[in-house]
């Protein structure tokens, strides 16, 4: 595929912490981790999704002014950023694995609508819904 969405970014409070979370706990891979002074372009990828990168960015000057950065940090910490959905083969197995590695779940796996879903947050407060892929009949 040569066209489509390449990067979608999340705001995180700390890029080292976010990198550790998405790589060590969720099993993503680092795609790019490039620094220039205080600026750091950090993206990770799901191993099954080589055409898509998830950006892990901090709100900071001079990209945004200091007051805006503070506001964004507050919004993220309040869990007010838009929904994120992670698709997995086996929700309960992934839940067990991630719990063991210390992921903060906000909802245990629940069976509904012919699937299983759970919810967790990253350390910054970004909320993920984890949904088991519906098996085709």
């Amino acid at each position: 595929m040569s066209q489509g969405v390449g990067v979608v970014g999340l705001y995180v409070r700390d890029q080292d912490e976010a990198r550790e979370f998405y790589v060590e706990k969720l099993g993503f891979r680092v795609h790019t981790d490039a620094r220039n002074g205080d600026y750091r372009w950090l993206t990770v990828q799901h191993p099954d999704q080589p055409s898509f990168q998830l950006g892990l960015f901090t709100p900071q000057p001079p990209t945004v002014d200091a007051a805006t950065a503070q506001t964004v940090r507050e919004i993220v910490a309040k869990g007010a950023m838009p929904p994120l959905v992670l698709i997995v083969d086996d929700c309960r197995a992934a839940y067990g694995r991630m719990c063991e590695s210390g992921v903060e779940f906000t909802q245990e796996p629940v069976s509904r609508y012919g699937s299983v879903d759970a919810s967790f947050r990253d350390p910054s407060g970004n909320g993920w819904k984890m949904i088991e892929e519906r098996r085709s009949q």
């Binding site: 409070r13 503070q70 506001t71 940090r73 507050e74 993220v76 910490a77 309040k78 869990g79 929904p83 959905v85 903060e104 906000t106 909802q107 245990e108 629940v110 509904r112 609508y113 879903d117 919810s119 947050r121 910054s124 407060g125 819904k129 949904i131």
Partner: protein, 172 residues
Amino acid sequence: MGKELGSKQERGQTSQDPELLRRLLRAKDRMDVASHEEWPVRRLARVSGVSEAHFARSFKDAFGVPPHRYLLTRRVERATALLRDTDRSITEIAFETGWNSLGTFGRTFRDVTGESPGEFRAGAKAAPHELELVPACFVSAALRPDLTIAVSEKRRQDAGVRIGSDETEVVP
């Protein structure tokens, strides 16, 4: 104080420590997933690691409603979902969503939604559903009643009565 002036947001000071907000979010998440349980301030404050004295004000500054009103709207939302999506009796739903009496449930439900549980059920069952493709937690967050005033205040306003000025929250 019927209009609840004086919160940080209304004073135009919105800045709160993100670390504190992240911990307050944990209390909100816990209420979301177990709104049928009892959530006294002591328990919520412990989840957030803040003092009981500061919890309610900090929570309201962060999320715009006092914690117990937030819990109440979560319970009403949960009840509306069960009325709409299941055939369980209204009594069962009242107790399952955390109310201690059917009377309190019915009264509060009507105060918040404008309909009795039975009327709501009849209307919801007749209406078409299009939200089945949306993950359930996003639907329940989106359909939570937007209760911007205390239930006691709403009750007074709906009744067109203006007596006293007590600001008692209806504790679910």
